[in-house]
């Protein structure tokens, strides 16, 4: 027990300074620091994740409004804000709240742009804690789909020029991919938006680009019509003139099937949709046509992760080495504190699995002739073997532009 005499002669104490027992400070630091660090880290990760998971559960069971409400309050920091906005926007669009989805996704796009810099504080924190402290900006294909889905919300509202603005952003985001996967569905949506404002040259460019990405399909660059690839010369189902005869109408339905919450494609096959679902469109008891798959978000994610594997592995290795070095350094001062530090630092070593999970897995398009006075249609979702899995009647959205009727439909 230090006495007054020994304390007076303590080298760190000089005349005039505030008296404080030398060992007390060290004791306080020893006992509280690990908990403070742990508490802060948990705050960074914990509360927001719970609400997000609950919202996703609501979404998966079709409770879109509940999912929206769960995410009404955005997290305070910027780490997960973009992810919240992406998920909330999806719930809004599924619930038919197109304005809400546009607001959320545009805010997300604005934040992604604002967060496009290397944050010194977050990068250094991520070297000590984990990658989850970095601000989530989405994978490149998620950032592209953000714009694509926003364009579809504008199309649902009949705001063709605004949809074309988003289409231009889609095209811009698909330039300079740097090894990340291209996306035929987004290109097709962009082409459709250009077609709606009469920019046929731009539309043709994007239809051709989409066609080059899906060799199992043929997409007409003049009409956007889709058909299975054939080895024989030209398919007569494609219109030879632009535009088509005035007494015919055309329904363009963007069909979204499944949920991209699986870890990989193999996992997704185990769900009730199977590997290759599609949708059939009926109106007035007549078969109009079927949808074709232009993109699979799980495949896009797999390709993205393959591209990032080396970078992530190097960063994880560097972080592990640094944590080990910190724990060893602390151990030199205090063995117990060093052990605590080691335990804490390595318990925080978790991979960053943040992703836009409410994205649909299968992104499909059905472009079929239809009655000019179409008021609704029946859509039958089928598995790869042709078995009917789900059926519903769609009366909204059905947005008309000339002889083209736009619609979208999602099955979970």
């Amino acid at each position: 027990m230090p006495t007054a005499t020994t304390l007076r002669h303590e080298p760190s104490l000089k005349r005039g300074r505030v008296f404080f027992p030398a060992g007390a400070a060290r004791c306080i630091v020893r006992h509280t620091a690990p908990w403070l660090v742990a508490g802060c880290s948990l705050l960074v990760i914990g509360c927001a994740t719970q609400r997000l998971e609950h919202a996703r559960s609501c979404f998966a069971t079709g409770q879109f409004a509940a999912a929206q409400a769960e995410l009404a309050k955005l997290p305070k920091g910027t780490a997960d804000r973009v992810l919240f906005l992406m998920e909330r926007g999806t719930a809004a669009q599924a619930a038919g709240d197109y304005h809400g989805s546009i607001n959320d996704w545009q805010e997300a796009a604005r934040l992604i742009e604002a967060l496009d810099y290397l944050s010194v504080s977050r990068s250094s924190s991520s070297l000590v804690i984990n990658d989850r402290v970095q601000a989530f900006r989405g994978a490149p294909f998620e950032r592209t789909l953000l714009r694509t889905f926003t364009a579809k919300s504008y199309l649902a509202l009949g705001l063709w020029e605004d949809a074309a603005v988003e289409a231009r952003n889609v095209v811009a985001s698909l330039q300079n991919l740097n090894g990340f996967p291209d996306d035929a569905y987004s290109r097709y949506v962009a082409a459709f938006c250009f077609e709606m404002i009469g920019a046929y040259d731009d539309a043709a460019l994007e239809y051709r680009a989409a066609a080059s990405l899906v060799p199992y399909l043929r997409i007409s660059d003049r009409t956007g019509a889709i058909a299975p690839a054939v080895t024989n010369p030209p398919d007569s189902s494609f219109a030879s003139v632009w535009p088509a005869p005035t007494n015919a109408a055309e329904l363009v339905c963007f069909v979204l099937i499944g949920c991209a919450s699986g870890d990989n494609e193999a996992c997704a096959c185990a769900n009730h949709w199977g590997p290759d679902p599609f949708a059939e469109i009926y109106a007035e008891n007549r078969y109009l046509g079927r949808s074709y798959c232009l993109a699979n978000t799980l495949a896009l994610r797999t390709a993205t992760e393959a591209r990032l594997t080396a970078i992530k592995a190097a960063k994880t290795a560097a972080r592990v080495l640094l944590k080990d070095a910190i724990a060893r350094q602390v151990s030199k001062e205090d063995q117990l504190l060093g052990s605590l530090a080691w335990l804490l630092l390595f318990s925080l070593e978790t991979p960053d699995t943040r992703r836009w999970e409410t994205l649909p897995q299968f992104l499909q398009v059905a472009r079929v002739p239809c009655p000019a006075d179409l008021k609704g249609y029946t859509i039958v979702f089928r598995g790869a073997g042709g078995q009917a899995i789900e059926q519903r009647v769609v009366t909204s959205p059905l947005t008309r532009h000339g002889r083209t009727i736009f619609s979208l439909c999602r099955a979970l």
């Binding site: 505030v18 404080f20 810099y117 010194v120 504080s121 020029e161 603005v165 231009r168 952003n169």
Partner: protein
């Protein structure tokens, strides 16, 4: 290891500095400024573009000369300016700014095309409900002779990813406004104005 006394002294100095600065940095403030004097914050479209384009374009149209000599106060209809950019810009605001300046010159008259439905609704109401001496006469709307249209195009260039401390983005806008004779279909005038703005952003931040 820093002593507790040093920490305490440092905290007192820091708190004093903050107090002496009058807490200006922590105080909310609201200031009214002239819109044309505001410094641009990004390379994208902002209120200074709206004001400048409205002024420059209307002056260019009136000095064309428009209206043609011999035509007394021709009637114009604003059919809107097309947005061909990658930003959601309020194009109605741009065309409203231009047509307001044209109207203020006193040389043209403008029909309210965007409110046609409201006009018809009010006329229908008056016909059904208002007294004969107060209601407007139906079928007396004036037809426009000229149509104002246009487009706004954007070209953005960004520096390619390289190792550097900041990156530059150049944004070029070109506004085209044309007036078309509704009778002959001829474009009687077309004016173009453009602007280029460069913005540099750091790639490293706190």
């Amino acid at each position: 290891m820093m002593s507790t006394y040093s920490l305490f002294k440092g905290s007192v100095v820091l708190a004093s500095l903050i107090s002496l600065t009058g807490c200006q940095a922590f105080r909310a403030s609201v200031v009214t400024r002239k819109p044309e004097e505001a410094r641009p914050l990004t390379a994208k479209y902002d209120q200074s573009d709206l004001i400048a384009w409205g002024q420059i374009m209307s002056e260019a149209i009136l000095s064309h000369p428009f209206p043609p000599p011999g035509e007394d106060h021709p009637i114009l209809v604003d059919m809107g300016i097309q947005n061909r950019t990658s930003s959601h810009i309020d194009m109605k605001a741009i065309s409203d700014t231009i047509t307001t300046k044209l109207l203020e010159s006193g040389k043209i008259r403008l029909v309210n095309a965007s409110r046609r439905d409201d006009l018809l609704k009010e006329q229908g109401y008056q016909l059904a409900n208002c007294t004969e001496e107060t209601r407007v006469r139906i079928g007396k709307q004036l037809g426009a002779r000229y149509m104002l249209t246009g487009s706004l195009v954007e070209i953005t260039q960004k520096e390619l990813p390289q190792i550097r401390l900041s990156k530059q983005e150049d944004t070029y806008y070109q506004l085209t406004v044309e007036i078309t004779d509704l009778e002959t279909g001829l474009v009687v005038l077309r004016k173009q104005k453009d602007r280029l703005r460069s913005a540099r952003r750091p790639v490293v931040g706190w």
